[in-house]
Symmetry: C2
Subunit: 395 residues, 2 copies
């Protein structure tokens, strides 16, 4: 008998993938333009022009043996140095190259961090709605994901619920802001309170809880006054898991990093754990060409004005049709209240209008659907009458 | 307390890395040309010209959103189809695209395969000398690596020893041919016997043992009459873990694949387990640009004539000086008998002659040192007097 946990994981497609595959089939049946597919969080905006220019320049000018050769497991030193200095300049931290560990994207950042921290039986608290793979990643690392609800109606942190979930087994709190699927950015005042809560927990119980901040959507915020707090400025025992997948529209190239806050007492132990976990999981090093690329375009972002326009158009139209939606601060998702109690039934009914929206159950939040608006603006225009008709069908 | 297994893994550098770092320091002290560094298995020959051409063409002509976007977790379908057909044309197999799973290189191929197969407490048999990370990868998957000796003096498979190690707990046999560190290619007759042994074991005990073939050095064989047997042709329950790191000199770019033999009865379960393990470990997909690259240059190989010349020069010189060496069929390593019982002491003494050679203990084989000859030919010429003097110091 081989490992049945992984067999089941491989057999059971996520609801998101299931719906996406249905959409492909449906498009073949009734035409590409007649299906309104809001299922997948795949950037629809190309990488900034600087990416192509830099890739060509690197391939043309670098020594190929060095360019395509191994870097150290942590990643190329000079790239890490560049990124550490950039983070310091933006957030006032004092990181150095050896606080960073380059990874094959956000998923790798998370699995490596969780495997570094967790012992069997440890708990990781996260806040619903949350990215469904958190459960898979935590389980593989031997732990248990404990999801707590967010504030009803706002999806902001509910610190009483986090407090109630803390125990002797808690090893980490894992947050994601801007949030997939709600688009909400957690408020600075709540991050401060969260940090205080974890400090108090340590003072009272001696249990150290790490704060893991999963930040693939950090650069995707649409309003000038929206600030995504940098957790390292509020909590010494914090680790940032970053990815360039969304900010540079490079999700298939697998490049990101882990940044460990050097203000934490046991920094060298945590960083060593990360190096060890990366080794045990088989990562070796992040793809070298993309390491070098990031060293050149670390401060660039894809043109997110299309996402902003999509958000504004969808938000105002859906609100007008009678849907309940929290206006997202960032990312490229709307988390919309289903018009009946069971979001899966609602999602099925939406299919009759050729609308593909993902039921929120897998995100730990019943009664909601996720709309990924990283799509072509004209599809949104074509989809609006369907959203309207769907709403009217409930009246 | 965070996970101490991974902390220790992160803290303890491998002997190879340790020696490599020493070499860098020593070169700074006495000059680059005066240190003879044979520590690391990093390809010294550039990628074939077709790699640069194809990379440029892909970046220039592909739609950037698709090129840098997610592929399916298994990898781009058309690339997998191309590779399956190429494997079929070379080895007479009848694989299809859905037998392949593209990975971030050989380490990922191995960790994903081991996590797919193993339950806690399962054993994996390997043959010494073996790549030291096998132990780390097996342990992370919950298993135990059981190393058996090879035939003394030839490093070929000792099937009696493999047979003696088989038990109810055995889930897989893991072989590596051409072998790191011995350079030996396992004989076809022995692969046949190994297959028969595993079939007999199943018939007698009902325990199914998978054969995992780790093949990053497959293309690095130097003599026309050396054939590396393709395990799928001898054993239904076989899985090939492949990487382009050495064949195309792309070790830092992390691209390879797992091929599951579709002749095995429980094929769909094993393939699902691989998909699930890849997901749980956080791999998402192999870097898309390099997937596309491989789809174009799958049948190219770096110029290995330099490795062959290095092998011939070193082999004949060391033999002449009185060293005992098995002539390697492939890869780019020589595994040389130390001139005293303790290889670590020998390796330390070699340092006095500025020769950096790795003690074989970590490879599960005491009394030998590994010489990586993926180096510049002129360094070998400069190193030969040192090898000679070292040998004479023992007379």
């Amino acid at each position: 008998m081989i490992n049945q946990t992984n067999v089941q994981l491989g057999r059971k497609r996520s609801n998101i993938r299931e719906l996406f595959e249905y959409g492909k089939k449906r498009k073949a049946e009734i035409g590409e333009d007649n299906v309104f597919d809001f299922s997948i969080g795949n950037p629809s905006v190309p990488a900034p022009a600087e990416v192509e220019t830099a890739l060509k320049e690197i391939i043309q000018t670098y020594d190929p043996v060095a360019l395509h050769g191994y870097t150290s497991a942590q990643g190329d030193f000079s790239v890490r140095k560049t990124l550490a200095e950039y983070i310091n300049s933006r957030f006032g931290t004092s990181l150095n190259a050896d606080c960073l560990y380059l990874t094959c994207g956000a998923a790798a950042s998370l699995t490596i961090t969780l495997n570094a921290l967790l012992n069997v039986g440890d708990e990781v608290i996260t806040v619903a709605p949350y990215f469904p793979e958190y459960k898979v990643f935590t389980a593989h690392a031997g732990g248990k994901l404990v999801a707590v609800e967010s504030n009803d109606g706002t999806f902001q942190l509910d610190l009483n619920k986090v407090k109630a979930a803390l125990s002797d087994k808690t090893k980490a709190v894992l947050i994601n802001s801007p949030n997939n699927p709600s688009g909400v950015v957690y408020r600075e005042s709540d991050i401060k309170k969260l940090a205080q809560l974890l400090e108090n927990h340590y003072a009272e119980t001696g249990v150290r809880v790490y704060l893991i901040s999963d930040e693939p959507y950090r650069e995707l915020v649409f309003d000038k006054d929206t600030v995504v707090p940098y957790v390292m400025n509020y909590y010494a025992h914090s680790i940032v898991c970053y990815s360039y997948s969304k900010s540079l529209s490079l999700p298939g190239e697998r490049i990101g990093y882990i940044a460990v806050n050097n203000q934490m007492q046991e920094f060298s132990e945590v960083y060593a754990g990360i190096c060890g976990a990366g080794r045990a999981l088989g990562f070796v090093c992040a793809p070298n060409l993309f390491q070098q690329l990031i060293g050149k375009v670390y401060n660039k972002t894809s043109d997110i004005s299309i996402y902003k326009a999509n958000r504004d158009r969808l938000y105002s139209a859906l609100t007008e049709y009678g849907y309940t939606v929290v206006k997202p601060d960032g990312a490229f998702y709307l988390f919309v209240k289903a018009l009946e109690a069971d979001a899966k039934t609602f999602s099925e009914r939406a299919k009759k209008y050729e609308l593909l929206v993902v039921a929120g159950d897998d995100f730990g939040c019943e009664g909601y659907v996720r709309i990924s608006y990283c799509v072509a603006p004209d599809m949104i225009e074509r989809a609006l009458p369907a959203f309207k008709a769907l709403a009217e069908s409930y009246k």
